[in-house]
């Protein structure tokens, strides 16, 4: 374990790093244009990033392929997707998904 002052220094560095990476392309003053193809291609980036975060969270456990098909997430996630598509409402999507998930996990012991 690092000494506490060094941890504090590490945390300060993390704050700086997250601010600079997130503002990377709009820190400079110079007008600066993306090539046209990149501009068009990047419209696919937001949903891709969401999917890239969500898929492994649903399909894998701790970075491994799961050992069993009896995983509450495999039922809860499709149910939540269908619900979200049908109702277009976030709050109930989370509620329905969690209800299915917890029922299977705590009720049936999946």
């Amino acid at each position: 374990m690092l000494p506490e002052w060094e941890m504090a220094l590490a945390v300060l560095g993390l704050v700086l790093i997250s601010a600079v990476t997130r503002s990377f392309f709009f820190l400079g003053e110079r007008p600066w244009l993306l090539p046209a193809w990149a501009e068009r291609g990047l419209k696919y980036a937001p949903l891709a990033a969401l999917a890239a975060v969500v898929f492994p969270e649903v399909l894998m456990s701790q970075g491994q392929a799961p050992h069993t098909w009896l995983d509450a997430r495999y039922v809860a996630a499709p149910v939540a997707m269908v619900w979200a598509w049908w109702r277009r409402d976030m709050l109930t999507t989370i509620a329905v998904g969690m209800a299915v998930y917890l029922a299977l996990k705590l009720g049936w012991g999946w």
Partner: protein, 228 residues
């Protein structure tokens, strides 16, 4: 933002709990909760700090974990340039995945923010401030009440469901859906890469796939036009 807030709150809570349960000193956990505002960077830094890794390794890891935001910042640029430099840095700090996705979804192809057209910026600030405040409150609760929150409930799954719901409701056309599905699959396949680089790989794959589909549609349209 109100739509995804419940999911974000539980996610903040879970991140806080994870930091406290990992055995981080309380002062550092609090400092991280309030300061860093980057769940994935925080969670990957914690085990490194506990194992006594050198500072540059911790920072390099955070840099790689945040790499996707470098791509995002290119798309946010038109709406940000109206701010002075210092505030642009603050705005960058406040950009999270959800803030970016919703901002670009609403204002991505609209005219850039300017003195007369502050709507894109106002939308961003509204999202960012609510998200930042909610996240911090939830994360602090997680750190302070870690021992009373059972991990068996799988509260983190609520955060995943929020993003899943967002993904479904924002899917507009077939091409975006196909590229998003490809991104998800690529992320699972490339998951073993260090530093969460799988997200960058997935975004690159989706952009390439999207451009290819655009190109093919264009070719098909031209072929149809050429036909007598």
């Amino acid at each position: 933002m109100a739509r995804v807030m419940p999911g974000m709150l539980t996610w903040g809570l879970v991140t806080g709990v994870a930091m406290a349960k990992a055995g981080l000193p309380l002062s550092i956990a609090l400092m991280m909760s309030l300061g860093v505002f980057a769940a994935s960077a925080q969670l990957s830094a914690v085990p490194l700090m506990l194992s006594g890794a050198p500072l540059w390794v911790i920072w390099l890891t955070a840099l790689c974990v945040n790499l996707r935001f470098v791509i995002f910042s290119a798309q946010m640029r038109p709406h940000m340039m109206v701010l002075p430099k210092g505030w642009r840095l603050v705005a960058g700090y406040l950009t999270a995945d959800v803030t970016y996705v919703l901002s670009v979804h609403r204002h991505g192809d609209k005219p850039p923010a300017s003195e007369e057209n502050l709507a894109p910026l106002a939308y961003f600030v509204g999202l960012a401030v609510v998200n930042w405040a909610g996240w911090n409150v939830a994360s602090l609760c997680g750190v302070l009440f870690a021992t009373w929150i059972p991990t068996a409930w799988g509260l983190g799954f609520a955060g995943t469901l929020a993003l899943l719901g967002l993904l479904v409701t924002l899917s507009k056309d077939k091409r975006t859906m196909v590229s998003a599905a490809l991104a998800g699959t690529a992320a699972v396949a490339a998951f073993a890469l260090p530093y969460r680089l799988y997200i960058v790989v997935a975004v690159a794959a989706a952009v390439a796939c999207g451009l290819l589909m655009d190109h093919l549609t264009q070719l098909r349209d031209e072929a149809e036009k050429a036909r007598p």
